[in-house]
Subunit: 410 residues, 2 copies
Amino acid sequence: MKRDLDRLMAERDLNGFLVLGEGHGAAMKYLTNGAFFEGALLLKPRGEEVTLVHGGMERDTATATGLRAINREEHFNRYQLLKEFGGDRLAASAAYIARAMEMIGLRGRVGVYGLQDAGAVLALMAKVEEQIEDIEIVGEYGETLFSQAFITKDDVELEILKRAGQLTCAVVGDVQAFIQGHKVGRDEVVLKANGSALTIGDVKAYMRGRLHASGLQEDHGTIFSQGRDAGVPHNLGEPSMPLQLGQSIIFDIYPTTEEGYFHDMTRTWSLGYATDEVQEAYDQTKEIFDRVMAEMQVGRPTRDYQLMTCAYYEACGHKTARNHPGTDEGYVHSLGHGIGLNVHEEPNFSHAEGNDTILQPGHVVTIEPGLYYPSRGFGVRVEDAIAFNEEGELIWLTDYPYDLVIPMRG
Amino acid sequence: MKRDLDRLMAERDLNGFLVLGEGHGAAMKYLTNGAFFEGALLLKPRGEEVTLVHGGMERDTATATGLRAINREEHFNRYQLLKEFGGDRLAASAAYIARAMEMIGLRGRVGVYGLQDAGAVLALMAKVEEQIEDIEIVGEYGETLFSQAFITKDDVELEILKRAGQLTCAVVGDVQAFIQGHKVGRDEVVLKANGSALTIGDVKAYMRGRLHASGLQEDHGTIFSQGRDAGVPHNLGEPSMPLQLGQSIIFDIYPTTEEGYFHDMTRTWSLGYATDEVQEAYDQTKEIFDRVMAEMQVGRPTRDYQLMTCAYYEACGHKTARNHPGTDEGYVHSLGHGIGLNVHEEPNFSHAEGNDTILQPGHVVTIEPGLYYPSRGFGVRVEDAIAFNEEGELIWLTDYPYDLVIPMRG
């Protein structure tokens, strides 16, 4: 949570942090409530407030964040800096950062975060260290200040995540009704009014319209994949493919709100009827989904749930990522992941050694068991997002029926 | 251009490059034709082909790029690496990168690029250098391998950029017709059929639907700002504000194609009529726009055009970023910028010392003079995108009328 940042800095022996901002980085969104700046800095000495340094043309966006804001052009004008450094852009840009740090009183061990071009980070940070004394730039990997703060959501964030779930489920319902509004023609192909086949591209176009109308954004795409493609977990689906009865369809939708928070849910559908092998794989998946959900509670290691899922699937005769690392068939991934400003963040449900994650109040995660058999032409997955509020109570963020077979007319 | 990458590496004494891929980085899009990978590496020793290392679940996306592809899970399985390094995620992730570099034969001076968390870059690259001998990681800033390759577009890219322009102009036309389809009520407010005011939010919602239907994406937002807000160059416009006659409206739209290429154009509109001061500022802006465009040709320094624009506006009595650095009023920015996979890239039109950019075949730029007077309640800007093809011929990418006054009925 945001209020943990000072504590997390103290634990890391950091005197402050610097967030570089090129594009839509999660740390930048977190502290600015989702504002978009083409280039900005966020600086915070431990125990003090966050300061935003923004471009002169973005001053209205800066004001809207509610943060203490400094106009870059007024204090660190780029033309004057370039002149001062004889046209050396690297030195001038580093001086802008270094002087902003000095102005805000950032010194000592400073953690650096934010999405930025990798080469620029290496060049700029080396130059900043040259330009100021008493600065040690710290780069964190893995369990960083922000990834740790992100893991637990406060009640303000939880309200946004609840809304994301409600809006997303409404879109899924609209998509289901849209498909069911079509007739089925010869060869079990779903048809449009003009007699041509309804394709995955048509369904996605309709879905995008509904997302847009709901104020949601499709940030990383949406999976709507049928048959063999459903057997490849991240296959987005082939737009030209006609919808067909009796094929497994994986519909995995992960849009974001205006503030940048994701929802993430998956349903497997089979139009009209399901084949026996799809029905069996689905029933097993829903069974382990229900068993896991029944045991979800704070205080339990996430690894337990993944091991439980692997054991169940293995007992059913499937390969898993545990007993066949790198397998393309069977249960090929881990059970779920945290969601928030990232579609995949901590906590993780890996069965790897060293994963000692314990479920806590404020955790928001997805649970998504699934089975994949591309060579047999199908895949199935069920995914809901759930949260533990600050009191540790389980809150279901996804509320949508689990029916595999979607009845069609004609 | 892509075919310049080997030459640009030689100029930098680089033996190869590594692109880290978290999210939508331009270098990743450039080499994968806009594919999205949640995490991937691109590696290229100088003189050899590009290799993509991708997650196991993204193998269909990888195949579609046409690049030589290596499945991360098959060769560098993350669970096995974590085990090998006793749960140390940084060491395991660095080993994945280091081993991929060794497998592909990347050694010596290796340039690193791609959008990635700043702290992760610092930590990972330090660790990679520890883990392999004979590697020097090079971080570039400013005129990098990719920013230099991006500056000139080949004919394949130019075709995408032309299509981006055509589609964007069609959307602008639809938006104009949409606004003109409304009536004007009392107090010169534009009205919807139900009698309530047509707002900026309504116009943007309509526009987003048109963008979507055209296959374009709104990547960084769209500016549709009226009155005082039009006087702040990057103010996106207040959604709740009703459209009103006689106010300057800046409509600056910069969507991307599926491949990730931007178009960028601006029109200033005044509904029904224009006030004298807006008309005068607009006429001056259109005048210098026309003068600049008449002189656009390869071989000329971009700085000349910015100086020409500053001189013209100053002669008209306006402040400019040249004679009043940091000014919020008058002509506050530079004349234009390159566009491609970034909405702002090289070449630049800065008047700063050290800008020795010369217009070349393959350059694709916007030209966007404007005047800003937030305290007087208006701003004006005109922006078109143009290209020089590989033969150096000027190609206009934006084709849309320049009328300031948009006639309204009733």
